[in-house]
Subunit: 371 residues, 2 copies
């Protein structure tokens, strides 16, 4: 810290944040986002997922910079999952281990049992890898009693996610992309936080690593265009940036706006669901179902969300539930004649009986009813 900057810092008015003099711009922005997201400021262990790529190395280095400058006193635990998908993956693991050792941080690693080509389509492989990674991170958190896991997703990752979902015709929930902070798994701590998501371009993480003179690893799977995400990254996003140099920021803003919308709408949909459920039914058999009349009177945007909440609850997950199923259930509301049953993936179905929608699990107790 230079003498001049120290003076200015001392001269700051009370109530100002301390001036983060001497910090790199990257670390300053991380600190600002850290505060905005209300992440733990002191003492606590935080698990940092480090693949060895520029994004995660930059995140770790910037945390290190903030610790050394006395601006954060969290204790990073470096976590690395070797997906075992590439010949070089154990070298990556050793490299990350060495980075952690030099920084003086604890290091945790595991090797996953995913196999490329073993029955996975590329995009399913990506999903399986993500799930293995999140389960690993949950174990590391438990081991270290950490309340927070950090991943280094950038604004570019968010833009790619939004575009991938746009290609599938998603609504606000899908286009809302990743949350900067959410629970790692549903219903329980630890938190998963992405402190680079809202502001860091991928190129800035590379630049920051170079400025710190720290190497990073390259993942050749990031070059493999059999992954939809890689195609979006290598071809679609560059074209959009050619049209508008701030397209990534645009996509990020869109995702923020739509996340806010989805929050409001899902809260209202929950109310609608309760209302549709509460309207009592004379027949005991029909209880637990939803009132057709109440759903019919609600605006489409809320009705569809209420039905989705209901089905997720009844089925235990959103797995394989597509818009086409929701639309089929919705059609039961208006159907005067014909189909009074909408099939769901996995054999369950929804039927309409005497003014109620009823969820029927795969195996019907009285047998035979499921033709």
């Amino acid at each position: 810290m230079s003498a001049v900057l120290k003076k200015r810092a001392r001269g700051a008015r009370a109530g100002d944040y301390e001036r983060p003099a001497g910090l790199s711009r990257f670390a300053r922005r991380l600190l600002a986002e850290w505060k905005r997201l209300e992440l733990p400021a002191s003492g606590a262990p935080v698990v940092v997922a480090v693949s060895g790529g520029a994004d995660s190395v930059a995140l770790l280095l910037a945390l290190d910079e903030l610790r050394r400058a006395g601006r954060l006193s969290v204790s990073p635990v470096v976590a690395h999952l070797d997906h075992g998908l590439r010949a070089s993956s154990s070298e990556d693991a050793a490299w990350v281990a060495e980075l952690a050792r030099r920084s003086g941080y604890e290091f945790e690693q595991e090797r996953a049992r995913l196999k490329a080509g073993a029955g996975y389509a590329p995009d399913n492989l990506e999903q399986a890898a993500r799930q293995a990674r999140y389960e690993f991170l949950a174990r590391v958190c438990a081991r270290h009693e950490a309340q927070v896991v950090l991943t280094a997703h950038t604004m570019d990752d968010q833009a790619e996610t939004v575009l991938l979902r746009l290609l599938r015709g998603s609504g606000a929930e899908g286009l809302g992309g990743m949350e900067p902070v959410r629970l790692l798994s549903e219903g329980a701590a630890p938190l998963l936080a992405r402190p680079l998501l809202n502001w860091a371009r991928r190129a800035e993480t590379v630049e920051y690593c170079r400025g710190r003179e720290v190497e990073f690893r390259r993942d050749e799977m990031n070059e493999d265009e059999s992954f939809a995400r890689v195609r979006v990254r290598k071809r679609l996003l560059p074209l959009m940036l050619e049209f508008n140099a701030r397209a990534v920021e645009g996509l990020m803003r869109t995702s923020q706006l739509l996340r806010e919308d989805a929050r409001v709408l899902n809260r209202l949909a929950k109310n609608l669901l309760e209302e549709a459920r509460e309207e009592t039914s004379a027949s005991k058999d029909l209880q637990g179902g939803l009132s057709v009349q109440i759903l019919k009177g609600a605006p489409e945007g809320l009705r569809r969300r209420a039905l989705r909440l209901w089905l997720v609850e009844a089925r235990g997950s959103l797995r394989r539930l597509e818009m086409v199923h929701l639309l089929a259930v919705e059609r039961l509301l208006s159907g005067e004649r014909g189909g009074r049953r909408a099939e769901l993936p996995g054999g369950a179905y929804v039927e309409r009986r005497r003014g109620r929608l009823l969820f029927r699990a795969k195996r019907v107790e009285n047998g035979g009813a499921h033709d």
Copy 2:
């Protein structure tokens, strides 16, 4: 209509729509959408905007097919605005006049006074052309006492609109794209309806024209990549279609879902605005403003929409109002110190005084207050 099909039509159960036997698929789909949008079924004059391109020629031909088959009895008035931007534009006008004459429909044309290069950026030129066109269509409607104008925007146009707005980081309102039916100008009839928007790909309009053996005109401005829309059409959309052959349908579905969301949210925002306005203030000077406390307590998605509604009302239009202005007004809600004023384009501003947000028009009566 073949004898067999006639028989099937007669055999249809009561309550079914009549079976549109003998109609082309394109005309059948137009008829289905016509009913879904509840457009006038009989007798009424409808103004059809015909540029001479495949989209608008297909729309006119399909209306003609439905009329001849006795399925619609509206009276088309063909309207063509010669924008005067190209050497060949008067040939287009003559060509459309001839098409109308052969079909036996009334024909209306005007020549606009736009000049390419006369101080317009390409995208502003596009906007000026659209405005001139809509004003012309309103005049034609008035002349013929028509309640409906039809334009031939397709699903491809909708996809392009969504992508253009995505590049700018729009929220649900922007990404909702064009409405299939809206008022031509705010607050008053006639309706502007786009009966191809929800289902027709541009290629289908070309195919339908060819099937009917009717020529159409090509607009070389549709090839000019100085227009953002043309760049999106010629480069971005084809790439997305390479990734997902149903990307246009996906974009269309996204736009429908987001329009539904925006409808619900804007209704709620209107309520919030009323609430924030009604909370009375002791000082007469502060009346007409909005309660900071009520706005602060509302979710972001609603608050921002309420502020936008308020500003549009106070300023008389949305003109030049950008997200950055809304965010500045929003910051007044949380600002403890510092800026108590947010500037708006055109010199008006919003200030925060004793717990209220107040709109101040450009010229302040007591003078001097505007520094």
